[in-house]
Symmetry: C2
Subunit: 96 residues, 2 copies
DNA sequence: AATTATTATAGCGTATATGCCATAAATGTT
DNA sequence: AACATTTATGGCATATACGCTATAATAATT
């Protein structure tokens, strides 16, 4: 697969990076999306089609294989007819 | 500049894409971030430094030149000590 | 007005998000 | 158990996010 490297390799500038992705947040987002989608009675495919996103991408998000852009989340929120906040309705830990 | 093409060129599969970005949502996010950041007394640089994001990227987000990933938003929310929902505390129109 | 601090712009390189297509795995249904 | 539906995985191509560096443009201070 493509997304195998969740950890940073190179040295960065102003501070030491731990992770490229924010695994914690992405897991919570995946969980929340799965839940809201189910509650609204959407299959991944229906959500993908109506949001103009691919099924692969929806699956990647729900299986934490991708770090989606906010515009992807916006599309999903519109289709599910929920606020964007609703999809981010969880609490992050102070640091990852 | 890099981000000149806000409109899709190619033909897609299951439906016709209008925009690659969701300009409306990105404008609202930019506004909200600017506001929360100011209220919390952060300069772009301080926010960038403490979030381990570059100043360029913060500026791009606030000037709607970039469609950030959710993990970037997570980092920002942690630094500003606000919920992610707080940064998305606005209402999107039904469609773009 | 001159200096300083802050924000914005620019270009380049690398990593990755996402589309597309196919297939496999899992789950539900009869 | 066969079949259908749904979800997950895989690879490849293209667009773009983001880091890095430098500089320009604005805004704030003195």
């Amino acid at each position: 697969m493509l997304l195998c490297s969740f950890y940073d390799v190179g040295k960065q500038k102003h501070t030491e990076r731990q992770k490229i992705y924010d695994k914690e947040g992405l897991i919570l987002l995946a969980k929340q999306l799965k839940e809201v989608r189910a509650k609204k009675g959407f299959t991944q495919e229906k959500l993908a089609y109506e949001s103009d996103i691919t099924l692969s991408q929806i699956a990647r998000i729900e299986t934490v294989k991708s770090n989606p852009t906010v515009s992807t989340i916006f599309k999903i929120a519109r289709t599910l007819n929920v606020s964007v906040s609703e999809l981010f309705n969880f609490k992050l830990g102070p640091n990852q």
